[in-house]
Structure formats: structure tokens, C-alpha cells
Symmetry: C2
Subunit: 355 residues, 2 copies
């Protein structure tokens, strides 16, 4: 690993927010991790410092050419138990795949894991332990070289910030209504849709905004080539239960290789529920709905874990799933995943890392 | 217009770089323009201040979700003449189209024009007047709200920075070799390819890097749906002269509506040269090359104005254009465009704005 992480503790700890006021990604802890990269020198000066603004030249490439990647992870704590993380190395491996796609330097995954441990330890008293709460972890890399030529940056910051977050849903999990998007496209094969980079999220804002105006929570993205194959729902992967079998879009280069997605597939197989990664057309789903075999649908992601879909609007037709209520499989997967993550259900996969 | 621009002059002017050291976007002037936006309040506090770093919370959305837009313009000066700009309102209109696509607040184009004038006036002695030099102008908007929810920001900075730049080419214009990209895709219809946003540039870095490793300057982008229709070259629009007629890809929603592109089309028409905006397949170009009618090709953009293409590599076949030398039409368009922009050739279109 080589590099030693220095630690500067804050002398002015912030007041912690009320649990009821947590929300998502609105409050940040007392410390952050930062490390710099310079071409020819590599990553250097890894350090934990008080959470503070960063100062950048207005010409820094991140402001102009979107050369950024990030990850999202969570740490959990029960009042009596240790701090738990869920498959952190899987996120760090993806972070490096994203780095490669964006022509950014790779990170030493062991060093980043050590940084995560030390940072979370420094802010351990910020981790909420109430049901549905957790510590959201945001590692990210930004390009900081102050030149306007369109080329990979020669300087970067890698940072980790922490945010105590509340339940994504007020009371357990509630189904959301989804608008099937036919005008806007999130990503296309050959692009950066399978990298966790800012541009993918910026590209989705307009469709999300228009869906919200129509009364929908999120959009279901179709592929950019045929405009008929299911890709993601909002910024989550998506699963459908059709005639007793679970299907999810296969990794095709334009959707994100979600850690929750991969975990849910393995959990379903563990339960002997048939699950298939395949190309899924919107027509196939509408047909299943018409003949009564489209039983459930849900999104998967780190923030919400499982987000059941109660309604799909496809070109004005409203497809109500499981009577608009959370389906039994969605509930079962949610309870099992969050139970494992919080340490209240035994983890048969070896996914949980105790800090 | 309403808002008044305040001005704080620097007390420590920087040393200006040697003309031979200018390069592109490496040096910045003594001042910058900044204005802030808050939801419910709108744009406020427009001001010219000494060029300085900006301080942002590490959770600022620009670092995570790529919600950014920018523009590129130039101001020109001859030793004896006034400062000239080229169609600045066309760039400002596109800036607002980009803002709309990225769910960002629109700017008052008259206020921005006034800011441009006052900022360039403040740094007028930074504008180089040597042949091939100019003042590159970079207006940009970044999302600054410090929350991690994926949603349009409620806070933004709009800034303008200025960079004295040298000739894009050492000696006049030289042809570049271009690799026709068949693996990576820049953008797709329904996406953000026609907006000037960071993510489009980040998405192109990997292909550009691999082309460079193969000995090519840039890539020629094909469309993301059929993988056969020409889109852009690097970050420029592209023109081909085939059998005496000039063709350029039609605006299809995934390519940038370039100001230089539009100007070149009008210049060619002014010269009674036939020009057509159309869907152009790579097969059509290869066929024209085989039968000897592919006469010239060039890219267009603010930075290089005209960039002649000497060679196209399509799946290993090398297509040499005009013997690898700058073609007569490319030269003529370059001389006319840069002559108008510098004020040495009369502008018959009313495009030049004297500051």
C-alpha cells in the first residue's frame, strides 16, 4: 500500500442533525478524506482533514469537461453492534473501471479501503443507528488541472465525504409511479452509460424533471438504438417478476453494473427463484401486463436498496402493478437485503465487512 | 437588463506570457466575471473581480452529477484596430439552449454581453494582436448546491474567464490525420450531444486517447444508432467536398450546432458553392474516395476555425485526401473566416461586433 494516511482532527465539531431531519445527502460529517494526483508523481498526500470547502482554479477541467467519477456506498450500525459495510471492494473495483473509461488514473483499492475505515472511524459517532438510517459514503474523483485543452487532466483530487442519511422512505418501502421515457435517452452502447460519471446523471435531469411535472417519480429508460429495450429506472437498475420468474436487463455496456443488482440476482438464486439477465423489450412487458403475468417490478440501488414500482405509464397507458402495492417478492428482498446490511439477518454470502 | 455589474480591479497585475509561449487555454488574464444564482432569487451580484480560485463545498453538484454548460468565443485585435468579436449573440443563444437541456436557469443575454464587453475592456492589454493569436473567451455555468440528491441544482455560478491564445497551428493551417471511430460513441439522438455540456467532452476522451496512441490527432465520430453516419470530428463539426459540392452532417439532435459551422455554410453559399446539410454515411465517403471525387475534408470550430483533414483511417484503410495537403477550398475558407474575424477582410454578413 505504501502511502500513510495523515489525520488532522477537527477542533470545532459540528452539531449533529436530528434523525427526523436527515433526508438524503444534506448533512456532512466532521471530516473528509483527500488525496492528490499529479502526472509523473502519482497519487500523493492521502489525508483525513476537517470537512471544508475546496479551492480550485476557475479553469479546472472538472468545471468544463465533466471528467469525474464517483461511487455510492453505505455503512450501517445497530445500537449494540459494530459498523458494517456491504461489499465495499465491489464498489472500489467499479470505481477503477469508471476511472479507466474516463481516462483517469486508477486508485489503489487497498489504500482507499484503509481510508474508508479510518474516515468512518473518525466520524463513527455520526452514524445513525435507527431503523432505515445509515451513513452514506461518497468517494469521488475530479479533474483539477487548470487548462482548457480538451484532453485528460494531469491533476486530480480523490475525496471521500460522509453523510448521515434517513430512510429513503418515510415508512418502510412504498411503490413509486414511473413514466416510460420515449423522447430522451440516458446512454447508448459505446458511450459511458456503464461508468459512474457525472455526465450520465446530468443527461437524465431533463427527463426526470418532465416526469415529475406529469406526476411521476422517475423515468424508465429505453435503449438509445431501438428505443424499445429496458435499461434502467431513474438512476437504479430494474427487475420485473413475470409469470413467477424474475428478469432484469443484461449488462450491455450502456447500463450500470449495480452492486445491489448483482446482490439481488445472487439472493434470488440462493432462494431458488429463477432469475434471468436478458434483453427485455417494453412490448414484452406490456404483453405480460395484458395477459396478467407481470406480477411485480422494482428498482435496485445503494440509496433506496429496493424501490417497488406501483405503476408504469407507457405512452399514456397506465399499467398498475400488484394493485399499486408493494409486492411480496419486493418486500422479501428488501427485508433480507437491509437485514443483512444492518447485521440483523445472517449473511450467507460473505458480503458484510465489519470495520 | 436591470442588474449593475460591479468592478474590483486587481492590485497585483500578473506578468503576461511571451507570444511564443501562449498555447491554448494555459494562461488567464487579470480579471474574471462571476454571478450567482439561487432558486427563488434568480441571478444576482454580477461582478468583475481579480482572477482567483473559487471555493466550493465538496458536495457541490458539479463535482458529482456533471450539471455544467459552457461556451467558447474569441476576441481579436489588430495593432491599429478596435477589439472585434464574431457573432457573440449566436454563442449566447446556444448557451441558453444548453442551459435548458441541462435543466439550468437561463441567462439574460444582454447582461452577459455587457459583462463580456466590460471584462474584455478591463483586460484589453492582454489581447495579443499577432497573426493567428486571439483572446479566447470561456463563459460557463456550474451547479454549486451542496446536496447529493440527483436533481437539478438550486444554486449556480456563471463565470467568464479569458485566455490569450496562440495560433492553433504553428505555421498557418496543417492537415491532421483522423481515425474513424467504430467502438466508442460520443452521443446519440435523445441525449445531450447538441448541448455544450461537460459530459460530452468527458465521453470523448478515451477514444481520443486511443487514436493518439495509434498516431492520429482526433477521431471521426459515427452515430450511435447505425454506427455508420458521420457526426463530428473530435470536438468540431465536419465538412467534405465531394465532386465539387460541399456536404456536412445535418443537425440531428446529437451534434453541436456550431457557430463556425453555420458561418461556413453561409460563406460557401455567398460564394455560390453548392453546400448541403445531409445524412452522410462513412460508406458514401469511402465510395467517393474510391471513385476519386472526395476532394477535401475539414473540421470547423472556434478554437481552430478550420482544421483540414489529410487522412482518414477507416478500419485500417488509409484514405489520403488532396495528397495529404491542405486543399484549396479549406485554405480559402480559413483565410476568409480569419480575415473577417481579425478585421482585415470586409464582413459582408454583419457578423462582426466592435467592442
Amino acid at each position: 500500500m505504501g502511502l500513510k494516511i495523515s489525520v488532522e482532527r477537527t477542533t470545532a465539531p459540528k452539531q449533529k442533525p436530528e434523525i427526523s431531519q436527515l433526508g438524503f445527502g444534506k448533512h456532512f460529517t466532521d471530516h473528509m478524506f483527500i488525496m492528490e494526483y499529479d502526472a509523473g508523481k502519482g497519487w500523493h498526500d492521502p489525508r483525513i482533514v476537517p470537512y471544508q470547502p475546496i479551492s480550485l482554479d476557475p479553469a479546472a477541467k472538472v468545471f468544463h469537461y465533466g471528467q469525474t467519477v464517483f461511487e455510492g456506498m453505505k455503512a450501517y450500525k445497530t445500537p449494540e453492534g459494530p459498523v458494517l459495510m456491504f461489499r465495499p471492494f465491489k464498489n472500489l473495483q467499479r470505481l477503477n473501471r469508471s476511472n479507466a473509461r474516463l481516462s483517469m488514473p486508477s486508485l489503489d483499492e487497498d489504500l482507499v479501503m484503509e481510508a474508508l475505515k479510518q474516515l468512518i472511524k473518525a466520524d463513527e459517532d455520526w452514524i445513525p443507528s435507527e431503523q432505515g438510517t445509515s451513513l452514506y459514503i461518497r468517494p469521488f474523483v475530479i479533474s483539477t488541472q487548470a487548462t482548457l485543452g480538451v484532453a485528460p487532466s494531469e491533476k486530480y483530487y480523490f475525496m471521500i465525504i460522509l453523510s448521515p442519511v434517513g430512510s429513503y422512505y418515510e415508512e418502510g418501502i412504498n411503490p413509486v409511479s414511473i413514466y416510460v421515457e420515449s423522447e430522451y435517452v440516458r446512454a447508448v452502447t459505446g458511450g459511458v452509460g456503464n461508468a459512474k460519471t457525472g455526465g450520465n446523471y446530468a443527461a437524465g435531469l431533463k427527463a426526470q424533471q418532465e416526469a415529475t411535472e406529469k406526476g411521476y417519480s422517475q423515468v424508465l429508460w429505453l435503449d438509445g438504438v431501438h428505443r424499445k429495450y429496458i435499461e434502467e429506472v431513474g438512476s437504479m437498475n430494474v427487475f420485473f417478476k413475470v409469470g413467477g420468474k424474475v428478469i432484469t436487463p443484461a449488462l450491455n455496456g450502456s447500463i450500470l453494473d449495480g452492486v445491489t443488482r448483482d446482490s439481488v440476482i445472487q439472493v434470488l438464486k440462493h432462494w431458488n427463484i429463477e432469475v434471468e439477465e436478458k434483453t427485455i423489450s417494453i412490448d414484452e412487458l406490456v404483453e405480460a401486463y395484458r395477459n396478467g403475468t407481470l406480477e411485480e417490478a422494482f428498482g435496485t440501488g445503494t440509496a433506496a436498496v429496493i424501490s417497488p414500482i406501483g405503476e408504469l405509464n407507457w405512452q399514456g397507458d397506465k399499467l398498475t402493478l400488484n394493485g399499486g402495492r408493494t409486492g411480496p417478492l419486493s418486500s422479501r428482498v428488501y427485508d433480507f437485503m437491509t437485514g443483512m446490511q444492518r447485521g440483523t439477518i445472517e449473511d450467507p454470502f460473505g458480503w458484510i465487512v465489519k470495520l
